[in-house]
């Protein structure tokens, strides 16, 4: 086996990560060199894995490697094909940027506390994610899945002195495990039908692929697997861990969790539904589509109402996962009606959005980390005017905001545009009811896109523009070179993926060819590399390079003409309406920016809002201070999870009656159980 083989390269990268995780504790006494060495090696490993992923997609063929470790008769199967190669590339690409970013960021953290555990679990986490993608059998998949879940659990509770972080990590672990059990059950069904329930022969994906499931069992397996992966991906209503866990983790980890860990769940969905179950009934896709729409709309609504920057980004991840699921659901529906070309289009939209979201959400979380690093606060209400203090971070963060708001010519727009095209081609579907429902889905997608623009205008305007709102004077400063470099590379990717989509889509051809038996790469480039024409040029075309060049040319011309005659630019105070005592607190802040939304969509959300006069004895007009209190609560938490946890507590309280502390009574319990069992046996 030569080193150029994708699987070997990827496996070698995993080995580097594992070795680093093992070596890191020995360097614990020298924190600075630990950070430098660990992230240098993890960057190198990421580069290798990026290469492996890109090569695997281009090769298009599957490669398998059997490692004879693990339990007897159950060796580990490593496998890489175009689909897993794509996700390996996504994970490793963001891993590379985050590794570069971590040089500065983790060094900053290391000034306050030892970061050995962060480094160890970071390496394990990366290795876990890559192994999930590389595993070729259910057994190894579950082990890798757990490695990923547990290491990220320790990363979430890195700041273990804070109660919120511990609570967030606990909720995360709980949801992750419920999800894992469902995935395990789904694999159990698949393996059982592949080789019988008596032996282990069916545990490889290869065997499952050939299994013939009765439709009902296929649907059960799909539902189990989908809900398991949905719990990991943060699909509403299984998203509750996400806005808790992502803000609690260090920002470099949040970037990875939000940017790529959620994508491993998407990978799992695609692997199970398209590859193992061969996309069954159309209602599977309908279900995925509907949940995607709910997640997208509700996710962005909640995001808009947050004042904590990282929580906002976490909710925005829920939204973006929703958008990915919308395209994925469309692909499943098209596939179930054997419209392979359209399925390929929708699948490309989903995969492209995975890649895009990894880039811009990684960038934004890294940016949030930079802001946190330099202002020591997560609350947007106390920020403002950072563009003067952190000019370069401001530019990079702006690119991220534009990309996530689906603004051309950046990358977010390309994938949403493809999703819209897939929606608009839905009238060819046979079901009349389906045809009527689809346009409404497109409208909700449009609403989501517009809302996310609004959300990120808020973020950027409140954090970077205007005056500093904090009580203490602003001490923010520009962050170090490595952090800027990490974010900058992600920003370059956002621009590149937006400007040259035809190349990326052409590269992705083997994935769709393998999964749905059709590809859109050739038709997408039919008109030339500058124009993206997913189906036909008469149907729709989009050219980011021309748009970008056009706007730039007009701007340059206008600038040149207007500056031909030199005219003075005078700096003056802002217009104060004749009220001379303007303060920074009179600016719009995050809460007031989102106020119209609370009025419009208030009934969908759970909002508690109150205004209390500061001095209860005085009549209202003579009050000097008011206290405004606002709480935005997650409705899902209160309507689904609260009753469950209450019920659990209720059961637990009643179960304590069994506990007496007397050994005789416990023996009696055992004895009675024995008798009952013997009686029924």
């Amino acid at each position: 086996m030569t080193m150029t083989a994708p699987l070997a390269a990827a496996f070698f990268a995993v080995i580097i990560f594992l070795i680093m995780a093992g070596v890191a504790p020995f360097l614990a006494s020298r924190q600075a060199s630990l950070v430098r060495i660990a992230f240098l090696f993890s960057a190198a490993a990421s580069v290798m894995a990026v290469y492996a992923g890109i090569a695997a997609v281009s090769a298009g063929s599957a490669e398998t490697l059997i490692i004879p470790i693990g339990l007897p008769d159950l060796p580990f199967y490593l496998r890489v094909d175009a689909l897993s190669g794509f996700f390996v590339a996504v994970v490793a690409l963001l891993g590379l940027f985050v590794s570069i970013y971590s040089f500065g960021y983790v060094s900053g953290l290391a000034e306050g506390r030892p970061v050995t555990s962060l480094v160890v679990f970071y390496c394990l986490f990366m290795a876990g994610m890559l192994l999930v993608l590389l595993s070729g059998d259910a057994y190894f998949f579950m082990i890798s899945w757990e490695l990923m879940a547990v290491s990220s659990y320790f990363l979430v509770c890195f700041e273990d002195e804070s109660v919120e972080a511990r609570r967030a990590a606990f909720i995360y672990l709980l949801v992750a495990h419920v999800g894992a059990v469902m995935i395990l059950l789904a694999f159990g069904i698949l393996a059982g039908f592949a080789a019988g329930f008596e032996n282990f022969g069916g545990f490889t994906f290869q065997a499952m692929r050939g299994a013939h499931l009765p439709p009902m069992w296929a649907s059960i397996a799909f539902l189990l697997a989908f809900s398991g992966f949905a719990a990991k991906a943060g699909v509403i209503p299984l998203h509750v861990w996400l806005p808790e866990a992502h803000p609690a983790a260090p920002s470099s980890v949040s970037a990875l969790m939000s940017g790529v860990m959620l994508k491993t769940a998407i990978y799992g969905m695609i692997r199970v539904t398209f590859d193992l179950l061969h996309a069954g009934a159309w209602w599977w896709g309908g279900l995925v589509l509907c949940l995607g729409l709910v997640s997208a709309v509700m996710g962005i609504l909640y995001a808009l109402l947050q004042v904590d920057l990282k929580r906002l980004l976490a909710y925005s991840s829920v939204e973006n996962i929703g958008i990915i699921l919308i395209s994925l659901g469309l692909a499943m529906i098209f596939k179930s009606f054997s419209m392979n070309l359209l399925a390929a289009l929708a699948l490309v939209a989903a995969l492209y959005h995975c890649l895009n979201h990894a880039m811009f959400k990684g960038l934004l979380f890294m940016g949030a980390g930079a802001i946190l690093h330099s202002t020591h606060g997560k609350n947007m209400e106390g920020m403002g005017g950072l563009i003067h203090r952190m000019p370069q971070t401001a530019v990079i963060f702006l690119i991220g905001c534009l990309a996530i708001s689906a603004m051309p010519p950046l990358n977010g727009f390309v994938s949403e545009w493809l999703a819209f095209q897939a929606f608009l081609l839905s009238p060819v579907l046979p079901g009349q009811l389906l045809r009527l429902l689809f346009p409404l889905g497109a409208a909700l997608l449009a609403l989501t896109a517009a809302m996310s623009a609004r959300c990120f205008v808020k973020v950027y305007g409140v954090v970077f523009l205007g005056h500093w709102r904090g009580k203490q004077p602003c001490e923010a400063h520009e962050v170090g070179v490595s952090m800027r470099l990490g974010m900058g590379l992600a920003a370059v990717m956002c621009v590149g993926l937006g400007l040259f989509p035809t190349f990326v889509i052409g590269w992705m051809d083997p994935i769709t060819k393998g999964l749905v038996g059709a590809s859109i790469g050739s038709s997408a480039q039919a008109f030339g590399w500058m124009w993206l024409t997913p189906v036909a040029s008469a149907r729709a075309s989009y050219s980011a390079p021309i748009l970008f060049a056009g706007v730039m040319a007009v701007i340059a011309a206008a600038y040149y003409i207007l500056h031909a005659r030199s005219s003075a630019v005078r700096r003056a105070d802002i217009w104060d309406c004749g009220f001379p005592k303007l303060t920074a607190r009179m600016q719009y802040n995050s809460t007031s920016f989102a106020m119209p939304l609370r009025r419009i969509f208030g009934s969908l959300l759970l909002i508690r809002e109150s205004v209390k006069p500061g001095d209860a004895r005085r009549p209202l007009p003579f009050q000097e201070r008011f206290t405004y209190h606002l709480r935005v609560m997650d409705r899902v938490w209160y309507s689904c999870y609260r009753p469950l946890s209450d019920a659990a507590f209720w059961v637990a309280r009643h179960a304590t009656r069994l506990q007496h502390g007397r050994i005789q009574i416990y023996l009696m319990y055992s004895f009675i159980t024995l008798i009952v069992l013997l009686f029924f046996a």
Binding site: Q432, L433, L436, L437, L440, S603
Partner: protein, 221 residues
Amino acid sequence: MTQTLAAQINSVLAALILLTAFGLLMQRRIYGLLHLFAWQGVFLSISTAVVGYTAGLHHLYISAILTLALKVFALPYILYVLIHKLNIKKDVEEMVNIPTTMLMGIALVIFSYHLTAPVRELSTLVTKSTLAVALATVMLGLLMMITRKKAVTQIIGFLALENGLFFAATSATYGMPLVVELGVALDILIAAFIFGIFFFQIRTTFDSLELKEMEKLKEED
């Protein structure tokens, strides 16, 4: 006038009837409701005449004229006088907010389209595609009766519902026999009068036209 043109005109009219049905759902002023209702009558009457012309059924002309007289002039006028006499508040009060009602309306339209799909497949008439609209109008009328508080808006909802039924009859089977239609028209007129009398009674009993007051009529236990 060719068949296809007639079908096109008819579907435009159906769309307008649907539009007025939605207009009734979103209108906040009571006189606005009356105007919309009258417009719905106008479209209905034109549509009936068009169907009558293309199908060569002359009794539909009589229905059209009857609709015009009754639903465009007589009933709105009666209701106008009622509102004026009873000095009813000019704003419509709704129980469910308007955007939500509209979304429910959209869902109902999709549902009725789904329901009428089998009929559409079998029918050979020019008007077959408008059946879904007719059913939707009936449902929207009912929705209006459910979501509004005042008795007057309920009446308008009821009359809109009847418009939908009438439209369903023309689109599904080119209209009911003339005798039936005359009977129904008479019924509607009488219903309007009875409603009027009821209003006076309700108001003298409860001092209000809020239907919530009727809850007091139930037996206390």
